[in-house]
């Protein structure tokens, strides 16, 4: 049991913005194959934490270790090539390019790292990612013209197409319809068969259904960590986050 190298580990990871400690000495461990959820109130530092993991900006202190290797000094694009993919909380697509082109850019990157970039595999990879997210018949549409929910799915498809080892979702279901959320749950289960998933999410039923372990952030630190039922019953979590709805018994 102890022999497994964690896929991701952070030690004393911190980041301040001016005087504000957005992430404060976080020690975090993620095992390969997990579906992990991060929850916490608005402004708790969840986005900042995963941004430090994927290198969008540097930490003020601490380390990020990916698959046993210290990657704290690596620029973001190198981390992506090592297998860390990030899907943005605020939808970030190439809105003037077609849906196909958006995904093709991811596939192309994965193929370049793999050594061979043939048009046929580019096309196959892009179609596969679009099919998995249910966007295949919209491949020719301009990405910016998609409905909001579909843009979120495109964001997911771009992450998928990178074939990452760790896929980080930052509130992927925000603004999705119930039907779309159901599809997303299925998709994440599928992805988790060959990748590790780190999911920031406010939708509690979804988190309870998907995650094996939940990490609760509050004011830049980890408040609690445990299985869904442990978290549900945790007094401190109820006070901090789940609020009045859960604390009367």
């Amino acid at each position: 049991m102890a022999a497994v190298t964690p896929l991701l580990e952070t030690r004393g990871l911190s980041r301040s913005f001016g005087g504000l400690k957005a992430v404060d000495r976080v020690d975090f461990t993620l095992q390969p194959g997990e579906i992990r959820a991060i929850i916490g109130p608005n402004g708790a530092g969840k986005t900042t934490f995963v941004s430090l993991v994927c290198g969008r900006f540097p930490p003020s202190a601490g380390k990020v270790i990916f698959d046993g290797e210290d990657i704290t000094a690596l620029p973001a694009h190198r981390r992506v090539r090592k297998g860390i993919a990030y899907t943005f909380q605020i939808t970030s697509i190439f809105s003037r390019l077609t849906v196909f082109d958006n995904v093709a850019l991811s596939v192309q990157r994965a193929l370049l790292s793999g050594g061979g970039l043939a048009t046929a595999s580019l096309k196959r990879g892009a179609i596969e990612a679009l099919e998995r997210t249910g966007l295949a018949d919209r491949a020719h549409e301009t990405a910016g013209n998609l409905a909001y929910g579909h843009q979120r799915l495109l964001e997911v498809a771009m992450g998928l197409a990178l074939r990452p080892r760790l896929l980080i979702f930052d509130e992927p279901t925000q603004g999705l319809s119930d039907g779309e959320i159901e599809g997303f749950v299925t998709l994440v289960r599928q992805i988790a068969q060959d990748a590790t998933v780190l999911l920031i999410e406010h939708n509690m039923p979804l988190v309870m259904a998907l995650a094996q372990t939940i990490t609760v952030f509050e004011r830049g630190s980890i408040l609690a960590e445990g299985t869904p039922s442990e978290i549900r019953d945790d007094r401190a979590v109820q006070d901090a986050y789940l609020g009045a709805s859960a604390d009367d018994d």
Binding site: H77, F88, I93, F94, L97, L105, R109, L117
Partner: protein
């Protein structure tokens, strides 16, 4: 449905179109009156300058206000090696291109640390520095008078590049080569990344691309193309002067590209040709020709906000590269 095709591509149509354009210019040589043939020779070379600019500005989204320096790197790189070291045309051309690429590498390494307005100012400043350097070393550069290349030096093997017909074909050859290079770049996988950087740089980085390296490559290629235009200009027209280093020659390629259509392969040619004739015709009638240039620009921005070919692509020919 047979599944989505790869991008909005019609490679055959695109290739045929560009071959046809070059052939039309070959034919024009035989029908154009002397005066217009001379204009076209000049426009073809300047269009390559605009194509180089388009690679940085149109495709990659880098708004530089200093591209005159790359044109001048080619102009002086060829002109000075030929006049002072006695190099031949081919060596002069290569020297010019190498100077442009090397300058672009250095400028890129420094200027690409900035973005947006800061990038515009930094590139403008570097171009101004080059202009002052050219004036300062007037002993070698001829200062603002410039210098001429002897006709005897402007021979390439059996070809006399001072002859109007040869000159026209030489300009067209350069243009065709630049067109082929541009198309090869922007249709390649790496070239797609440049467009993606223009659209959403942060996303490109988070897809695992080294954005800085890609931009630097774009600047170097852009600088090399502009320098090829500058070197050819020196060789074909025999004149090297500091006017080409002024801010005006950094603004012009921007206007040409905007007029013709940013991020279209043929747009720079359309823009350069159009603007050249607007200036040429109006300046025959009035000294206030810049007023007409201004009016033409305003009309174009109103009716063709994406430039002539940008609008054509948007409305009718989505496959236009």
């Amino acid at each position: 449905m047979s599944g989505p095709a790869v991008r909005n591509d019609r490679p055959m149509a695109a290739a045929l179109l560009h071959v046809a354009v070059v052939l039309v210019f070959v034919a024009l040589q035989y029908v154009l009156p002397d005066y217009h043939r001379a204009v076209f020779s000049r426009v073809l070379v300047l269009a390559v300058f605009a194509m180089g600019y388009n690679l940085a500005f149109g495709y990659t989204g880098l708004l530089s206000l200093g591209h005159a320096m790359f044109f001048c790197a080619g102009l002086y790189g060829a002109g000075m090696t030929m006049s002072m070291l006695g190099w031949n045309v081919a060596a002069g051309l290569v020297a010019g291109i190498v100077c442009g690429a090397a300058l672009a590498l250095v400028i890129g390494l420094l200027a690409l640390r900035t973005t947006g307005v800061a990038f515009m100012i930094v590139t403008l400043m570097f171009a101004q520095v080059l202009y002052l350097v050219i004036l300062y070393f007037n002993e070698y550069t001829g200062g603002d008078q410039g210098f001429s290349l002897r006709p005897a030096a402007r021979q390439l093997g059996p070809f006399d590049l001072t002859d109007p017909t040869t000159r026209y074909f030489a300009a067209l050859a350069l243009f065709a080569a630049a067109l082929a290079v541009t198309l090869a770049i922007v249709r390649s996988p790496r070239g797609r990344v440049l467009v993606a950087i223009r659209e959403n740089e942060d996303r490109v980085r988070m897809l695992g691309y080294n954005v800085f390296a890609a931009k630097l490559a774009a600047v170097v290629l852009s600088g090399a193309l502009c320098a090829a235009a500058g070197a050819t200009y020196a060789i074909l027209f025999g004149y090297v002067g500091a006017t080409f280093a002024t801010i005006q020659y950094s603004i012009l390629p921007l206007l040409w590209v905007l007029l013709g259509g940013a991020a279209t392969a043929l747009g720079p040619l359309v823009g350069t040709l159009f603007m050249y004739y607007v200036v040429d015709i109006t300046s025959n009638y009035t000294t206030a020709y810049l007023l007409f240039v201004g009016v033409a620009l305003i009309l174009l921005v109103l009716y063709f906000p994406k430039g002539v070919l940008g609008t054509v692509r948007e409305r009718w020919l989505p496959w236009l590269p």
